[in-house]
Symmetry: C2
Subunit: 331 residues, 2 copies
Amino acid sequence: MSVTIKDVAHKANVSIATVSRVLNHKSNVSEDAVEAVNKAIKELGYSPNFLGRDLRKSETRRILAIIASTEQSFYSEVIRGMEETAMSKGYDVLIATTRDDPKHEMHLLGMLFSHSVDGAVLLGPKLDAETISGLAANHNLAMCLERLEGCKALTVTINNVQAGKDAVNYLINKGRRRIGLITTAQRAQSSVDRELGYRQALEENGIPYDPSLVYYGTYGADSGTRGCKELMSLTNKPDAIFAISDMLAIGAMNHALSAGIDIGKEVLFFGFDDIQYSHIFIPHLSTVRQPCFMQGKLVIEKLIDNMKTDTPDTSTYMLPHSLILRETTGD
Amino acid sequence: MSVTIKDVAHKANVSIATVSRVLNHKSNVSEDAVEAVNKAIKELGYSPNFLGRDLRKSETRRILAIIASTEQSFYSEVIRGMEETAMSKGYDVLIATTRDDPKHEMHLLGMLFSHSVDGAVLLGPKLDAETISGLAANHNLAMCLERLEGCKALTVTINNVQAGKDAVNYLINKGRRRIGLITTAQRAQSSVDRELGYRQALEENGIPYDPSLVYYGTYGADSGTRGCKELMSLTNKPDAIFAISDMLAIGAMNHALSAGIDIGKEVLFFGFDDIQYSHIFIPHLSTVRQPCFMQGKLVIEKLIDNMKTDTPDTSTYMLPHSLILRETTGD
DNA sequence: TTGTATGCGTTATCAC
DNA sequence: GTGATAACGCATACAA
């Protein structure tokens, strides 16, 4: 069927060993041989079968990035960081989506167990900490963007508690006292952490926690809209709103705009993620920016390091975030 | 190192052939053997090495989707259609990004040539028609969302000419005569086709084509903003704007909003793609919707069909689009 | 129902 | 510098 190293060897009048040497740019091969082999390769349109190579070397030089879906454009920069770093070390990055299904996530991890890839990175895992800890003990598995409480696996993320705290502190320093929180009922650790930061900021500033100011919804922008509507219908309205994602913040502002609220003066808004739309949508949204590219870069570096050792690094690395101040906080 | 089929055979006191039979759920194997093998598998934590299997069967049951970047959340539904269809046929879908680099696109196609995947789908190729035609003649390669003029490869897309025409005709039927076009200088075939539809609609309605009404920019929302600003500074302003993507349309509306233009009355706006933000952004954008899921589904079905034959289908399939009418056209 | 033996395409070890 | 040849892990034809 397909043309193999054997056909090339035959055509070039050399052994398959020589062809392999040429293919792998080994030094101990005569110029004549190199030439003959390359000529044969071109004429036959030969392309090495990596299944053979991978089996023999038992490495694929491929890393799998497992994400929920390609919808969250937010992952884009992280993936880029992963790809550029991987490429510089001779690895390719493949992406697969779980569609929020832990079973499918496990199925995809099968590619790791079955040696179809050399390593895998989970960006927002659906599996639990214990399961992942177990897997990470025997396989080159890492997590990025999202940590899991008590999970013994290499993790690269930001300090979401501190980030939430920073955002809310900024609102407090702007003189706000009734700060609403729009978050999700379905709890990723990052959401939990950001909410914790919100509470810590209030506490440290002597502002009592008011449960009626916290709206638990879903991930969509429409949920942000509903949340804002609900918070704004309180008799004691908030004077600022912190949303745990830009998407929710934008949805929230949609309500505020149609309700004639003066965003950035009457009510301040703070988002999280610094997605592209946060500075397309008007008014421009103040938000927390993660070092996406750097997280992707670091997780790949550490993962590849782990491949070369049998005492894997299972630390959690937290990279610094920053506040991006725009119109919605009056900046 | 890793535990293999051999270890399992040894532990279960059977031959590796029997283990393989159990692994592949063959019928001709005794219950005792099945039990013993499964027990051994569990105890050893065995997981088959697919590199061996794939090499032997010379198939991977994996399909590669090659996209520019995960940033265009627009691809999300297409990918879902691909995945669900592939899964139902026992295939996995992997995604890789070209970062707009034709060289890297070729590198990724290497996975196809080297038998690391059974097939590949290009979503918005950077390579030219001739190159792709050549490759498609010898490999299971297809295109989706974007066609290439004169390309002899299986293609699933929509009729972008007709779609552009439909959008502009709608604006004309609303009584508009000076219709601006915001498009990109960097020409994907879909952009070219949509522009062609724009011109055909004008022509068929006896409206003279006015080059000053066409703005050529880049893909970003900010380019839409600039385009709108330019068009609106004409002495003879447009009374409607058709943008070849929602992103450009949203950018354009940003200018319109800040210039105090009454969108949906004074100037109508029509986008393309029906991205999520088209109905988050206010006012809600009228746009052209593609059958994303169906395109993904169809391309995988046809691609898998092609794998089973040596007379591959290189047709172009065009699926029906639809107009989504919202506030920006006064609906 | 089971085991033995062969080969998938490649790399690497060893002689020469 | 080069060529046999033995692995890599698995599926399967064939023999038993």
